[in-house]
């Protein structure tokens, strides 16, 4: 496997996650669901979690969003699936950016953080 390259805004990881998302879709039996919009662009993301014994047993996301936001949600889902909910809540934008390997400009940072905001909403007791 060749290492992911930084190619400006749209890294290989973003392209790949946009074309072939791993966690996009509905989650029947979700126990925690939250949704929010990015006021800048109207993008909408819904995170669906199935929590079991204090851990994120399964996670899916849905919504209308750009490639960066979708890739961010996809990466975030991967980072939290199977982990304790408390740990999932501590995942940061930095963690997601480290996987995305892209030069995200300030104007698009909200695209990265929207799924995180939604996740935190879903995990609120």
């Amino acid at each position: 496997m060749t290492p992911a390259t930084r190619t400006g805004l749209y890294s290989d990881t973003i392209r790949e996650r946009w074309r072939q998302p791993r966690f996009r879709g509905e989650l029947p039996g979700a126990t925690a669901v939250a949704e929010d919009v990015n006021p800048l662009c109207g993008d909408r993301v819904r995170m669906m979690l199935r929590l079991r014994n204090g851990a994120v047993d399964a996670v899916r996301y849905a919504g209308d969003s750009c490639a960066i936001c979708s890739a961010s949600a996809d990466v975030l889902a991967e980072l939290i699936e199977g982990r304790p909910a408390a740990e999932a809540a501590r995942v940061t934008g930095e963690d997601v950016l480290a996987v995305l390997q892209a030069d995200i400009r300030p104007t698009r940072m909200r695209c990265v953080t929207l799924p995180l905001t939604v996740l935190h909403k879903a995990l609120q007791p």
């Binding site: 400006g8 805004l9 749209y10 392209r15 946009w18 074309r19 800048l40 662009c41 109207g42 993008d43 909408r44 209308d64 969003s65 750009c66 490639a67 960066i68 698009r108 695209c111």
Partner: protein, 405 residues
């Protein structure tokens, strides 16, 4: 000579290289670029003349006042206003609508209705919601038919004895639809309603004779018409302005002040509390002079041709969808489009990598986006310096865009 060939050299920013490409600026509907005459007029004003206006009894103050009021006269002539009293300087279109909505809002009674349209920018929705909120009044909206035209039958049904205000755009900032302003105003007036027209996307692009439109208030911004940010114009028919109670107080808007009361100044200063945007008025005057030299008929013709070309070439690209009136229909200098399978923000970001600046998103018109059934669109928009080659560059970039993500 084509208009852009005549004008391009006047806009220093157009020489910029963006991401390795010569800038193709197709976002003039959001804010236009400025000719050097505007930049120099403001710089010159600050370098030689600046002082506060109206209250300074010294040479600079008198010169600054003369310039500021001269700018008002230029605006009056540019829009065909009957008198200078009808020309109020604001901070922009949004500010102008808020000023009118605030003032009219205080006269609303429970059950009153404000009629807007599904085409509106948020700046012509939210101030009316706020005005209605505490008064028990309601905001209703004229829906669209066909390719983005106002449903005039619905307008007729919605217009009634409870309609106090009809507020609508002259040219849609998304679809480019030109609304039948005079017709809407005639019908609204017959129903006893006050009309407020958002001219933000019209004033920079069309010859204006505002009194002929028959509206009560008309607002627009300087920064979309080659002028600086921070200043706009509220035109009000003299008798409509005279009965409008000011809602913002401060210096300059008064004649006499006591501790418990005050007497308002004459028009138009009654609505201009505080130190106004003086350098911006000087810049706006230079912008108007620039546009008048080109001739607004010629400007309109140039931009119409570009919009027509854009609709035609974009429609021919597989996977590209164009919104709004067809190419043959008179439309404003904006074209909204989408690329199948790509989010508008990704479209804009990918185009930016080729130096092409377009707007993407909901364009501050979420109800319209809902009516179109989309999250957002991309939008190309034009000004006096936009060229046919730039439209071709856009089309060329769009044709291969889907393979790039």
């Amino acid at each position: 000579m084509r208009l852009d060939a005549k004008t391009r050299g006047d806009f220093p920013i157009l020489d910029r290289i963006v991401n390795g490409h010569r800038l193709v600026y197709l976002d003039s509907a959001a804010s236009s670029q400025k000719p050097h005459t505007v930049i120099e007029a403001m710089s010159q004003y600050y370098a030689t003349t600046h002082a506060n206006v109206h209250r300074s009894i010294h040479t600079l103050g008198e010169e600054a006042t003369a310039l500021y009021e001269m700018a008002r006269d230029r605006v009056q002539r540019f829009i065909g206003a009957a008198s200078r009293e009808e020309v109020v300087f604001t901070r922009g279109t949004t500010d102008g609508i808020n000023l009118v909505a605030d003032a009219l809002g205080r006269t609303l009674r429970p059950g009153d209705e404000i009629l807007i349209t599904d085409l509106e920018h948020h700046s012509n929705i939210i101030p009316w919601q706020m005005a209605a909120r505490d008064r028990g009044a309601t905001v209703r909206s004229i829906p669209l038919v066909g390719d983005g035209f106002l449903d005039l039958d619905a307008f007729e049904r919605l217009l009634g004895p409870r309609t106090r205000v009809v507020a609508f755009t002259h040219v849609s900032n998304v679809l480019g639809t030109v609304t039948p302003v005079a017709d809407l105003c005639t019908r609204a007036r017959a129903a006893g309603a006050i009309t407020v027209v958002d001219g933000a996307q019209a004033a920079p692009h069309l010859p204006l004779d505002i009194p002929l439109l028959g509206c009560d208030f008309y607002v627009f911004s300087s920064h979309k018409m080659l002028g600086p940010t921070g200043i706009g114009v509220l035109w009000g028919r003299l008798d409509a302005l005279q009965v409008l109670e000011p809602t913002r107080g401060g210096g300059e808007m008064i004649k006499e002040v006591w501790i418990d009361r005050a007497r308002w100044n004459d028009l138009p200063w009654r609505f201009e509390p505080g130190t106004p945007p003086i350098a911006e008025a000087v810049g706006l005057m230079a912008a108007i002079e620039y546009l008048e030299k080109l001739g607004m008929e010629r400007v309109a013709e140039h931009e119409r041709a570009l919009a027509r070309q854009t609709v035609e070439v974009l429609q021919a690209i597989p996977g590209v969808r164009v919104y709004g009136p067809r190419a043959s229909v008179d439309r404003g200098a904006v074209v909204a489009f989408s690329v199948e399978g790509l989010h508008p923000h990704d479209v804009a970001a990918l185009l930016d990598q080729e130096g092409i600046a377009v707007r993407a998103g909901h364009h501050c018109a979420q109800p319209l986006m809902r009516s179109l059934g989309v999250v957002g669109t991309a939008r190309a928009s034009f000004s006096v310096y936009s060229s046919s080659e730039e439209v071709s560059l856009l089309a060329h970039a769009l044709a291969s865009l889907r393979t790039r993500l």
